[in-house]
Amino acid sequence: MSFFGLDWTRKKEKEVERKIRANDREYNSSFKYATNAIQTSKYNIITFLPLNLFEQFQRIANAYFLFLLMLQVIPAISSLSWFTTVVPLVLVLCMTAAKDAIDDIHRHRSDRQVNNRKVNVLINGKLVSEKWMNVQVGDIIKLENNQFVTADLLLLSSSEPLNLVYIETAELDGETNLKVKQSLTLTGDMTDNLEALSAFNGEVCCEPPNNRLDRFTGTLTCGTQKHSLDNERILLRGCTIRNTDWCFGLVLFAGPETKLMQNCGKSTFKRTSIDRLMNVLVLFIFGLLALMCIILAVGNAIWEYKEGSKFTVFLPRDQNKAFSAFLTFWSYIIILNTVVPISLYVSMEVIRLGNSYYINWDRNMYHARSDTPAEARTTTLNEELGQIKYIFSDKTGTLTQNIMTFNKCSINGQCYGDVIDHYSGQRLEITEEMTPVDFSFNRLADSKFLFYDHSLLEAVKLESPEVHAFFRSLALCHTVMAEEKKEGDLVYQAQSPDEGALVTATRSFGFVFRSRSPETVTIEEMGIQRSYELLAILDFNNVRKRMSVIVRNPEGKLTLYCKGADTLIYERLDPSCSKLMEATTEHLNEFAGEGLRTLVLAYKDLDEEYFSEWKQHHHEASIALEDREEKLDKLYEEIEKDMLLIGATAVEDKLQDGVAQTIEQLTKAEIKIWVLTGDKQETAENIGYSCNLLREEMNKVFIVAANSPKEVRQELRDARLKMCPTTEQDKFLIPETILGNTPKVVEDEHANGDYGLVINGHSLAFALESSMELEFLRTASMCKSVICCRVTPLQKAQVVELVKKHKKAVTLAIGDGANDVSMIKAAHIGVGISGQEGMQAVLSSDFSFAQFRFLQRLLLVHGRWSYLRMCKFLRYFFYKNFTFTFVHFWYAFFCGFSAQTVYDEGFITLYNLVYTALPVLGLSLFDQDVNAGWSLEFPQLYVPGQLSMYFSKRAFMMCALHSCYSSLVIFFVPYVALYDTARSDGRDGVDYQSFALITQTCLTVTVFFQLSLDLSYWTVVNHLFVWGSLGMFFILTFTMYTDGLFRIHPPSFAFIGTARNCLNQSSVWLTVALTAVLCVLPVLAYRYLCSQISPTINDKVRYKVHQTKEPAPRPRRTKLIRRSTRRSGYAFSHAQGYGDLVTSRRFLWRPQPARSTGVTPTGRSPGFKPTGRSAGYSPAGREQNPKQKVEPTSLQMFRAVKDSSF
């Protein structure tokens, strides 16, 4: 929590129980409960400087430099002037402080915005508009429709019947469907009677503030009555009131004590694997530094003993060698501090920020239809995008558009839905240009429904009995609810999008489902309104995979209509329709082959007698106390037989654009894709095939669907043995020590082919148990793709955590819905699909964009580049700093280990900040090995990133060795070249200042060449930076050595004239040239040899690019190859439960007459209104969950605070 957030917890005793008296501010204030003002900002104008500095110095790097600074103040130790440390430190501190300040200003602004929201508070019997921040515990407030809930409230009364309140809890738990809360009758009776409310003096006694969203315990004492309170009565801050005109509530928890705010600590700060590696390396560097300093200190002691003591005539000093060595140790700590680069962290942040901006700016990741650009919400994770090994994807809304469309059907052996070319008889691809069927004859038709086969409508118009039966069946057999706010404006609420799609299509074809009551279903058949008596709903469940309704038509005829999975319905058909079955089966195969979700429709006429008998049994069964389910099932089974086939429907679960191609690309990049979906196994499998995740040519797709842990384990083991018969039982665990932790790391095993795995929710629950998780992981990670069905949000996170924990791999989770939040947060990288549903996933994600297909660009282009750049940056950065520093080390052996620097102090100060900063920044912002087109053309280029090949401990060691070599050259070549020689004018040339300048020049030129060698993409900016920095070195060197500056402060600019007198010597330039050649040519040769003898994939691609000399290929859209075998899919994605509702009356309220209070209820029809994703089929009349400009809630703001740390 924030600094201030901690205040109240510290100050106050731990609250055991909360006592609140309504309308009694005096009493309540005696407890010092928090008020409703929230503060997420950290600083104010006065506290900013001290607090911010305090925070910054908590960072190890900054603290280290502060420590250095303190060392430098001690004259006996100080080997460098204070400004060599102060200048970079101040620069770093200022940059960070500026960023923090800007962040905090934003936070202040949002705090102010939230705190200043208005709400009506009941004060002294009157409603007063108050700011949120002034609301106190115990106040009674009035909320209106679509308002945010101000604080955690006890619901007192509402405008709705039965004192119900509908709330949307998306902000809180991520569920987008509406929830119902109901107040106590006792309080509900007060309605909006202000007098009664202000006289209300109930006392609430409840639990102390906590973060449990699903639980609440407390009691309300009103006079002598005591009522228990539970979660049902509580409105939590962060929710939004929906479909409720007004409600009154009593504030229980306010501000920071609300459950929302208490829940905020969760979001964790993500760090990239490079960061983690850096932490290890920094430790190593500290070790190296200490080692070097110890060597030099010992050297100093020895030197003092052997030589120094003889030199005291000219330089008197302490005789204590040990003390001298001690001081030398610290002096060298100061001098060699450049091995721990202070600017490294800042530079890394800048690079990541820059690369994040590229993501925001990428037009190829901009979705024009929803006007959504990609967004890097976290700017610190970029290079991790280049190392992804596992992708966990949601299905609905991520892979699919979550739009169901009625696409084809088969009626009485006749297939409809394809457009046939009149001349060739060929099936045509349906395109936008074709004219859809004109439904204008039907005023109730859905305007968004498109159908291209005109023959179906003709058949309807010709009153073909089969076709009519087909649509009638669809219009009657479902659990959809209709809402008709005004005549002709029908809105359907369906629990499954498939049903919605079917009913909507039926409506367009002239069989309009208008309304239902518990006993009737009213439909309009070709303009004639008919009311069917609904006698029974034989509801859907997982085992039955079908649903039926029994209706009596206006003529009194009894019919059972059934729809369901083909396999199950076919078993229950009358043998008489076997011929039709054959034809339909063929069509079903065809539909399934196209990835459509199919349903088979059947009907059966019932005779009255039989039915009444059945009804009797049904009634008995439904009130039976024992085995009710079984008895009912048996009865259903009994009546659903000998049915007659009507036809089949095919609904398309539309994939998003380019999903299949993206998955293909990602698979080529060796990324494993796991789909975690809440959908049913069949649906998920279907989608898996249609989006290329599962392929026909795969050796096998394992399906794990067992009911006991033992079976699951066995199935997993069998699958593994099949994939790799030689697999050993327990050899896969390699102990990997990462900073003391010893998690088991599961090594990659290689399967002998391509395999897929589908595991259902039930089995997954077993598989995720701690005893089996490794077994599961081992098997699953051998497969190319894995689909987990019926997964709960928690399980999604568990799966991600499992892979994260036991695989040395980087994971990415992508999803769009609130149910994906947990996995998005759990994965190393969370990606949110924006612009589809609620913003929940996006808000907790690190990157967001509108379409799944952008993922390939994000990873294969941006991720790869970011990783490449970061690694190049780190390698070069370490190289240049190590080389710089090691030269001091060599010099120590010649200057009696006296901590004399090789370079001028000005150079030491400016080397990292000015001379080398920009070129390497240019490298890490612009470098590309091959351009975006080729990156996508060769997804294999992504593989080195997964293996961390560009930067690892080994690469780091290579850097260090390379630096060691370079520093030897840079030190010894000038040393030998100038030793005992004279300048061309006869003056001696090896004075300290000349030598310093010469090594500086050698160093600068060498690192310049090295950079040029590393830089593979020279843009104008790079040229400017590289040449500019080299020029800057000479300009600043000459400037610092001028007379003018020397006159201003002689001791600081003692190098006066050195540049003029030294750089005019040809021997100096010959030396510089020799150093550069000796440093750079071996690298060049080595790299060339490597690229020739064992070329990396990059070399190969670059070679190819070089060979072809063509512009990058345009991204190809691969045509999806449809598979041929049939995959039956029962397409209902809904769970059991609606059938009861439909018949239960509970939610089918008729508007009630005005009540005694005199409030006129509005004319809006109350009722159940699920607006969750399950209702999200779009052909229905209105846009689902229209994307509003929703103000960010305090939770979101808080997250922003959490994530923004540097």
Binding site: K310, F311, V313, F314, L315, P316, Y358, N360, W361, D362, Y366, A368, D371, P373, T379, F894, C895, Q900, Q928, N931, A932, Y975, D980, T981, A982, R983, S984, G986, R987, D988, G989, D991, Y992, S1016, Y1017, W1018, T1019, V1020, D1043, F1046, R1047, P1050, P1051, A1054, G1057, S1066, S1067, L1070, L1074, L1084, Y1088, L1089, Q1092, I1093, P1095, D1099, Y1103, K1104, H1106, Q1107
Partner: protein, 355 residues
Amino acid sequence: MVKKQAGTGPLSRRPDNSAFKQQRLPAWSPSLTAKTVLPTFYILSLVCLLLGIWLVITVENTYQLKVDYTNSGSCERCFELRKNATNAKIPCQCFVNFIVPKLFQGDVFFYYGLRNFHQNLRRYMDSRDDAQMVGRKKNLKTPSSYCAPPFDYDAGGVPIAPCGAVANSLFNDSFSVTYHPTTARSALVPLYRKGIAWYTDKNVKFRNPPTNGTFTLQQAFEGTTRPLYWQRPVYDLDQSDPLNNGFINDDLIIWMREAAFPNFKKLYGVLSRSQGPFTEGLPAGNYSISINYNYPVEYFRGGKEVVISTVSWFGGQNHFLPIAYLVTSGLILVTSFVLTAVYVKVGKKGKNMEE
């Protein structure tokens, strides 16, 4: 992060289509191909070879002669004398003979060399006050703390000018070289002892406190005392030329330009070629050096020498660079052959470049 752009339209949030933002900036992307790498190596090898040869020829025409006089010849006596610090005031003169085998043609430079003298110790190097030595009045009387005891104030609290360990340890041997031709009379080798420091040092870095006709240098230095080890005050260093006194004394300036390594030489004088046998340079023959042996080196096991050298366009005699260039050239050539072999064997057909 994404800035909300002003204006709303269907594509209002579409990113700009600039080459920079789309990372499509035109760029030169060099790659390591045989076509670029192999010629580079061969050419560099050739360049290094030519440079090396040129340098070898140049260096062959420069001469250098070192005469160690630490305790050789008659200097043995002085060496022993200087072992005892109490004898510091006793003058000691000695002679060392040497032979110049060949005419040192052109300008000839005389250096004094010190071995194992660590002018590069940090605390030694810091122990000076550049502000004082630009002759600033204020700094003259208040030496920097870097000069630290005991070289900032003497025992009586009088500020030392110039302060610090560097100035204090000023090299104070002096030489005179005599030429002994076989045919003629011995002649003193004439040396220029002035104008041997860097121009910037002499004119910018080291300045005397302001003086004028009436206000002498001695007066300017009033209130300061000479460094501990000095026998003469700073305003009286060069008795022959009053303009070469004070902080701008050439010997002082040269000494104050500390050496980077413990073995070093510093310019003492330049042969004056205006007269006698020296117009061509230093003729071959017998020479002797008369040394005023003052500087003690035995404490730090050091050595002293006189170095006589000629220079070329590229400086004094230096065998390292020519050899280094020749060796480098050879190495590059070998590498080039290896690279070529690899190219012919593997790279030419792009054998390894298949995916």
